[in-house]
Amino acid sequence: MIELLGLGKTYQSKHGSFEALKDINLRIDDGDIYGIIGVSGAGKSTLVRCINLLERPTVGQVLIDGIDVTNYQGRQLLDLRSRIGMIFQDFNLFAQRTVLSNVLFPLEVRHDARSEALKQAHNLLKLVGLDGMEKRYPAQLSGGQQQRVSIARALANRPAYLLCDEATSALDSLTTASILALLREINRTLGVTIVIITHAMSVVEAACNKVAVIDGSRIVETGEVASVFAAPTAQITRQLLGLETVAAVEPIDAGETIAAVEPINAVEPINAGEPIGTPATQAPREAVDGDV
């Protein structure tokens, strides 16, 4: 179980301070595939990076299996991190290492016995469907294959948790579907609890059982995916679902703000302005049709 209690994160920079997370309270139960969705700059990456303490929260606590890890340092911190897997939007594979050597990396870091580690790495590559590609280099793989390698690498230490920061955002829709299917399989067969950060509702729909919506550094809505989709309460959730349109300005981290137009309740999403995060072509959900 991962618990975030009253979590806040303020970045200090030359231009002043910025509150990237405000009063975040979240509980991720064992076995969950928990989606955290929001637009660019909402604070998603900051939130997920607080879980393995790549980012140190300014206030609040991070509890892993009921233990407060917020102030872990040194060896304790490194051990904690090696028990939590992580995958990234641009895969972050080591370019000068083979596929096998990439998967071995987390085991190498912990000085695991070479033969045990090799067996584990081969098993994982089989699990992610990359049997026989051990000797290739990342540059010789497609994006989907690279993400599979990075999943195998993230699972090398048999973590109980897997954090995915926009893991499918660089992939086409078919590859995205296959990666999400793989994550579901890993959740089911290995019992790994998964946190999925995304800006696309389609990802939440395809993979998650629970979802938290984050907007402007705060969590504005949480719940079972089915109930949030059926009855979204926050405006941003409805926008992410394509039920309300926003002016067609892609929010950019550089502080450009979204000018929300008058909310239009529509049976079908109006694509004049592209709904944030969802492909313009995405069909509205049935649940939504009934709801309006």
Binding site: N52, L54, L78, D79, L80, R81, S82, I84, M86, F88, D90, N92, L93, F94, A95, Q96, R97, F105, P106, E108, V109, R110, Y137, P138, A139, S150, R153, A154, A156, N157, L163
Partner: protein
């Protein structure tokens, strides 16, 4: 000039040029080696302590960066002279190969430090973050990510360092270090034996070409991007 290609010429000057070539190579390679041992260390410290590095120490980093830049802007010939007492304490002499290697290495250290630091900076920050996420310690990140991921770039940099040092060795030759530069100046400039000078310059050119090709070949072989 045409004498250059006769066997008498090579009988007369072959041993001299051969020894000078070997001296040049010994000076270049040993000073490169020493410069890399210290330069990599400095680069690691610079990289780790930069404001958004793994162990940020902005003030220390700025001071060290400033010292390194000072070292880089000092002309080699001045360094050669300033270092005389230091060189004498360390190797007991200021002439010959041993006397030259000290100022050559000292001169190359800041250069190498900056070049290695820049190779480190080319390592994608996401890879550092991935290593951190898997619980790698700072030492492991240095050896397994910074050094390993930038190896091809480091080797290309080493070629540049070696070749720059070939030029400096020739300069050091002018003040009694030996090597091809020394031969070129003693025979060509002072004794008007232009054939000897041309021969040594040709050998220098060939040495530079060989260094470049060998390092390029290695870098290409190991680069998997």
């Amino acid at each position: 000039m045409s004498e250059l290609f006769t066997s008498e010429f090579w009988l007369d000057y072959g041993p001299l040029l051969g020894k000078a070539s070997i001296d040049t190579l010994v000076m270049v390679l040993s000073s490169t080696l020493i410069a890399y041992v210290v330069g990599i260390l400095l680069a690691v410290v610079l990289k780790l302590t930069e404001p958004n590095g793994l162990k940020p120490q902005p003030v220390f980093n700025a001071v060290l960066g400033w010292v390194v830049n000072m070292g880089r802007s000092l002309p080699f010939i001045i360094l050669l002279i300033i270092l005389i007492p230091f060189t004498r304490t360390i190797v007991g002499t200021i002439v010959g190969i041993r006397g030259a290697v000290v100022p050559l290495a000292v001169c190359a250290i800041p250069f190498v430090a900056r070049m290695v630091e820049s190779s480190f900076s080319d390592v994608h920050p996401g890879r550092i973050e991935a290593a951190q996420a898997f619980g790698a310690s700072t030492t492991q990140i240095v050896t397994k990510v910074f050094l390993r991921e930038s190896l091809p770039s480091l080797i290309r940099g080493a070629a540049i360092t070696c070749i720059t040092l070939v030029g400096y060795v020739a300069m050091a030759g002018a003040v009694g270090a030996g090597g091809l530069g020394d031969v070129a100046i003693r025979y060509g400039y002072y004794r008007y034996q232009s054939d000897v000078m041309i021969a040594s310059v040709l050998i220098l050119i060939i040495v530079v070409q060989i260094i470049q090709s060998v390092f390029n070949l290695i870098a290409r072989r190991i680069d998997k991007r």
